[in-house]
Symmetry: C2
Subunit: 324 residues, 2 copies
């Protein structure tokens, strides 16, 4: 299905899971006459050449962004500043710069000051992903039926915002506009904290074997092999999330520090209260909390949101079992 | 596929998700000449009559277990003691009593002392389930390719253990034998702690709206609607686990208190360390932890364990999306 091209030339900076998926989607829907791709990693560029999802692959970022009417940053948030600085002299007048990062205030803080005047910054975040990384993991349908959140500042060019919004709509996403600070708080609870917790419990489980064995030989050691073997009881769902890109997530936590620490503080309070209820045999309190969360699960199901986070691998559903 | 009946009469006490699934599986594989079902809830019994997965449905537990050569407790762990006491006078000589609970030391503690001599206790735990509850949610294939863990005491009759093991093998499970205390520690990290954490984060998210609104009007409130809307970023996976049966889980935490509190203590230490790394911008530490957990995820995938925890609803895999 080919639509009228929205852009003459789109430059995608960073062609991992999200960047390469967007390149594929832009080509699949005919949204750009030319998709230029850049990555700092030579191996990634070689893979991109082989897979052929971009019209051109550049080792030099300046060449990639030159004459582009849209530049998409699809790199870890931690390198936004240096990358924007390096590309700034090569940007075409009137170009739009957008991104796909999971933190939005940081984009404005790091990227906006170094952009030439006349270049429009439209921060964006497709709420989509899998736990896999790299250009091989990407696919054109990644954004279908997902949310794409844009967080333009009040003085941002309306036409620029609309063009980026239209791009996301044409690759299948529903677009929402909100303030960057609000985005960062919403995502802190719906995405960043869940990832932090998942990483933590997997690390805790991994340490059981080594720690205990060192402590007391002959103790009742829970081995890593056992954790893996019986992971179907709930743990497995956490390992999936904890399989996500470490560098990307490192940068998310560091650049959304305030909101993450706030949500983490609330979570720790609530967990401590449940811990106390367990220690004091307060079954009534436990049941009360567990019953309340069940209602929210129902809300998620009713919102038809359940099942919308794609995994290229098995997702835990019955239908997946055969595919593994 | 009908095998030689292993049992003349199996009585299933409690016919929710697991009990009703076992009844269905026993009938599907012809493992019992007669499956008798009992539940304290009249509504559940009526549903069981309608669905017809048992040969007889009893409001009186004594009638259900009379002449049964196998009795299966499929009720919350918290009522094991009173239930066993009530059924004891009606148990046939030589009968085997087993269960499906997620905590195993408690079974021995609560059930064993009240059983007549000559009745064999073989504690069991099929590591299988969905986040749904009740007799409507059950299905015969629930135990296929899952682990069934048995934790008989050393003096337990070997033939009784073997018969229960054979039952699980014939409904499709892989059987493991281990000590009850070890089971409870393994499950504390692979199942109980993940559930506790999932319940907590969903409760934390649910409180954001009300708490903040009460605090300061006009504040940057994250609404429950937004949490649900953007749950695809990771939160959704937690809501699925947090949709599990509240009474069953209340009893799991109370009856496996020691192991759960130990694992929770370790988890909290690790989470606090990551919190400190975020506050102090220690990206190196974050990346180190995130990279290590990724390797474990790979272990889970390689063990072909991923995807083995069935959900009757969408599981988040791509293949599921169409089913919603």
């Amino acid at each position: 299905m080919t639509d009228t091209p929205l852009f003459e030339r789109v430059a995608i900076i960073g062609i991992g899971l999200i960047g390469s998926s967007l390149a594929r989607a832009l080509k699949a829907h005919g949204l750009a006459r030319h998709v230029a791709a850049h990555d700092v990693d030579a191996q990634v560029r070689a893979t991109a050449e082989t897979l052929g999802f971009a019209d051109s692959v550049h080792s030099d970022m300046g060449t990639a962004v030159a004459a582009a009417d849209l530049v998409v940053l699809a790199i870890p948030v931690g390198v936004y500043g240096v990358t924007a600085k390096a590309m700034a002299p090569h940007l075409a007048a009137g170009a739009i710069v957008t991104d796909v990062g999971s933190v939005k205030e940081e984009v404005i803080r790091a990227v906006k000051p170094v952009l030439p005047s006349g270049v429009h910054l439209v921060p964006g975040h497709p709420v989509a992903g899998t736990e896999h990384s790299g250009p091989e993991a990407g696919f054109a349908e990644l954004f279908t039926d997902r949310w794409a959140i844009l967080t333009p500042e009040k003085d941002c060019d309306e036409q620029a915002v609309e063009k980026v919004a239209e791009m996301w709509r044409r690759v299948g996403s529903d677009v929402e506009i909100m303030e960057a600070a609000h985005h960062d708080r919403v995502l802190a609870i719906t995405s960043h904290l869940p990832h932090l917790i998942a990483y933590t419990i997997v690390a805790t489980a991994a340490d059981l074997e080594s720690q205990l064995q060192a402590e007391r030989e002959g103790d009742d050691v829970v081995t890593t092999a056992e954790v893996i073997k019986y992971s179907a009881g709930g743990f497995r769902d956490f390992t999936r999330i904890a399989g996500s890109n470490p560098v990307m997530w490192r940068d998310v936590f560091l650049s959304n520090k305030e909101a993450v620490l706030e949500m983490l503080g609330r979570f720790t309070e609530d967990l401590t209260a449940l811990q106390r209820a367990i220690r004091w045999d307060d079954g009534e309190q436990l049941e009360k909390v567990f019953t309340r969360t069940r209602a929210i699960r129902r809300g998620v199901v009713e919102a038809r949101q359940a099942g919308r986070f794609q995994y290229t691998e098995n997702g835990g559903g019955k239908a997946d079992d055969g595919a593994e």
